[in-house]
Symmetry: D2
Subunit: 185 residues, 4 copies
């Protein structure tokens, strides 16, 4: 099975983006995949901002990405785009760091008015990093992300079918790496 | 094998976008796929602009798309985006017209300065139409598109490896529709 | 006072985009400006799609733009972007057709989920045409556009303050063409 | 005269973006404007990434922006967009932090292939912050930014007229805040 990395780009704790990724992780693990978790806020800020690649924690996060077959990225929408924190991490990665990988872009936000952020802002960045397949993404409106007292998160209301669809598309793409086939001549 | 539709969005004849699609079609046919060709300029202009879906030629073009497993779309870059002609045709299609399909976005333009058009302008439109997989696209600079006296087009110079890569990625994605797989428990 | 052109990019009649522009026109005329109206659907479709610049009606529309100091453009949101009809007209214009002009971008759509279309899709196109000032735009959700039996349109609900703000910003920018000033030495 | 803030979003020293801003600052000071300089890399990284608004240096940078009538922002192009460092700073600002202000967006990059970044990626973010006027921006290709032994930067080659144009447009917009004018009735 595949190795999947979840990347939370929220600069806040607790974070709806992190919770959303837990829902994805649960589903991926249920399919038999291995899931690693990366919370960008845990990385040393000065190494990240100044792109000091020899920092051990930063280097470890890059190694986690390298090992992953697929990545689920979640970011709150700030100023009509992804967070600066997420972009700082993407900036320190090699230009082709997503080559061969499947990527699921997710966002959280206060209203549907931010829904196009994923396709107009985040997706072009991911494409520039040579991602093999950036599957359909989804913005979950904040009020549909709920956690119970044990910290287990559920997605409610109209957001559930939308999220389920894209997670399903992600796990489909993860399971079947494409390969070119020629007709027998 | 798959059924592939090429869609040329250029409002001019002859068109570098159409020539570029011929290179893709040749490669796809060599793999054993069936290729249909659609030149949007051939559609009746008034039916297209007024979205008269009962027009037989317009309806036929929509049927061609429905039957296709994959689509290669090429557009010249006008005013930092795809052509109005291409968007007119996309506008008359159902909102989810690309559901389940693989899409290869291509562009032609006078200079590399337009390269980001595919990812920032065309790709979000294709994603909104529920495409299963919009693979990496490519902008071919005009001067690298050459046709010989028999009308056979070749892509030259630095544009060739770039185009070859994305056509390969397209034909890989076409050959292997993804399917979700769960680990045996 | 200034000469203002309103450009409706909707392929449908009646059109909420055209109605929205009437509200802008009324306000502009109340300030003493002259308003010309252009409905792109009235242009000959084949001349528009094939960019036949010698068509008299198409040429007249281009002349209207040339004469205008400012332009208010409204488009419904189709497939996460402006309409193909609008882009067809922009495509036939000279690359720098908006040089020196103030532009107000407006959209209509079924939900707020399309709100970012103006800034991520339409604005870059207008900027590429050398617009002097593309002021803040606004998407009016369809249900807030109402017409009485005399055909007079009003904008209601939460959309009214938003629209009023951008129209005010537009008319401010129209009234005061900027000019570089140096401190006396 | 006006108060102008230059904001350098480069995470590297020396920085072509910072040099480019010096050229703008020189021109603005020659017109009699006051110029403040902000290099985002100088801000405390952890306060910036975690949005700790009580940090004195971060608060001071926010105060500088508040006092400014206009802002010139320069960023290298990383991964087809602005830097994460720049976005981190924009993220900590109030949503309407650019209200009433004129903004000049500038970029530096290795090739023209990144030229559309300003309009498709950075401009929508600036618009979302209520900027009064984001004037035409410009990407200067790295090789046209040269510094002499005294550290004085000049812009050379084909980049000079392009930059001169947008700086002129910026200083024009700065000098003349728009104001709505009604015809005498």
């Amino acid at each position: 099975m595949a190795r999947i990395l979840t990347v939370s780009g929220s600069p806040r704790i607790p974070s709806r983006s992190a919770k959303l990724l837990e829902v994805v992780a649960r589903e991926a693990e249920a399919d038999g995949h291995t899931v690693d978790r990366l919370r960008l806020l845990d990385l040393p800020a000065d190494a990240l901002l100044a792109a000091r690649l020899d920092d051990p924690e930063l280097a470890a996060s890059m190694r986690q990405l390298e090992l992953a077959d697929a990545v689920a990225i979640a970011t709150p929408v700030y100023k009509a785009a992804y967070t600066g924190l997420l972009k700082c991490w993407l900036d320190v990665l090699p230009q082709l760091a997503l080559a061969g990988k499947v990527v699921l872009p997710l966002a959280t936000g206060g209203s549907l008015a931010h829904a196009l952020t994923l396709d107009y802002a985040l997706r072009p960045v991911l494409q520039s990093m040579a991602a093999r397949h950036v599957v359909q993404g989804y913005l979950v409106v904040d009020r549909f992300i709920e956690s119970d007292t044990d910290g287990v998160t559920t997605i409610s209301g109209e957001a559930l079918p939308g999220l389920t669809d894209v997670v399903d598309g992600f796990l489909q793409a993860v399971a079947h790496p494409p390969q070119r086939v020629r007709a027998a001549s």
